[in-house]
């Protein structure tokens, strides 16, 4: 197999109303085993996937938001969240759950996986990929 490719998973849809967010996460988890260079983009309604304190008891749908916190264990550590998308939706970065990973290159220091980026930075990230998978 050739060297690692850059994979970007683009998340533009809200959770629960449709299954795309959950099934996207399932791809990310499986894909982690392939040791590619993986990034996740959250923009537009996709930023809603990361809100804290999701409680799905009343709607009877499985709450998959804790799974995002496990991504670090799969070495998926680059979650880019678009600032403008948050603002338009009345959200602050503090409305998102904390997602951490241990950086093996920096004495296993705990670092945040979520990076808030501007729309223009998001465009740069998108244009620097080999494979873009949209859900």
């Amino acid at each position: 197999m050739s060297e690692a490719k850059k994979f970007l998973y683009v998340n533009r849809k809200a959770p629960y109303g449709t299954i795309y967010a959950l099934e996207s996460l399932e791809v990310v988890l499986i894909g982690a085993a392939f040791e590619q260079d993986v990034s996740l983009a959250f923009l537009d309604d996709g930023v809603f996937q990361l809100t804290r304190d999701q409680n799905t008891d009343e709607i009877g749908v499985k709450n998959f938001s804790p799974t995002f916190r496990a991504l670090g264990d799969y070495e998926v550590t680059k979650l880019f969240v678009e600032k403008e998308s948050l603002e338009e939706r009345g959200l602050e970065p503090s409305d998102l759950q904390e997602i951490m990973y241990e950086d093996e290159d920096d004495d296993w220091e705990e670092k945040p996986s979520i990076q808030i980026v501007s729309r223009s930075e998001m465009a740069d990230i998108m244009s620097d990929q080999d494979v873009v998978l949209s859900f």
């Binding site: 629960y16 109303g17 449709t18 709607i59 009877g60 749908v61 499985k62």
Partner: protein, 130 residues
């Protein structure tokens, strides 16, 4: 009051079938009647008995089947929509020369006239879709 319910999207992919289920249950709990639920568009896919979701997810088809049985709900799947999408009862499978069928218990296949009839005979018609 009589509530007629339309489900227009498939299970798991959209929340519509879930919301419709919770709505029907709440209506029945309040003493209303739900004489019929009509499954149209991708909603017909709710009626497949071949769905095997993970154990920790809700069982959408089984929940509907149980609710209908307990409350005598007529669950109608549109025949034209079902044929396009591959939902067949035994008779239809035979007629079409297919050696398998997949319509779950509690559902029946019929025509769009049942949707109009529901609209005429119910006090309220509520659509759940996307």
């Amino acid at each position: 009051m009589k509530f007629g319910i339309v489900v227009s999207e498939g299970p798991y992919t959209h929340q519509a079938a879930d919301t419709a289920y919770h709505f029907a249950k709440a209506a029945l709990d309040k003493g209303h009647e739900v004489p019929r639920v009509f499954f149209y568009h991708d909603g017909v896919n709710v009626a497949t008995n071949l769905s095997v979701p993970p154990q920790d997810e809700r069982q959408i088809q089984k929940n509907w089947t149980a609710l209908a049985k307990a409350n005598d709900i007529d669950m109608v799947v549109c025949i034209a929509a079902a044929q396009r999408r591959g939902i067949l009862d035994e008779n239809e499978a035979k007629r079409q020369g297919k050696d398998a069928s997949n319509l779950a218990e509690g559902f029946r296949i019929s025509g769009l006239g049942q949707l109009i009839e529901m609209g005429i005979e119910c006090d309220r018609t509520v659509t759940f879709g996307d």
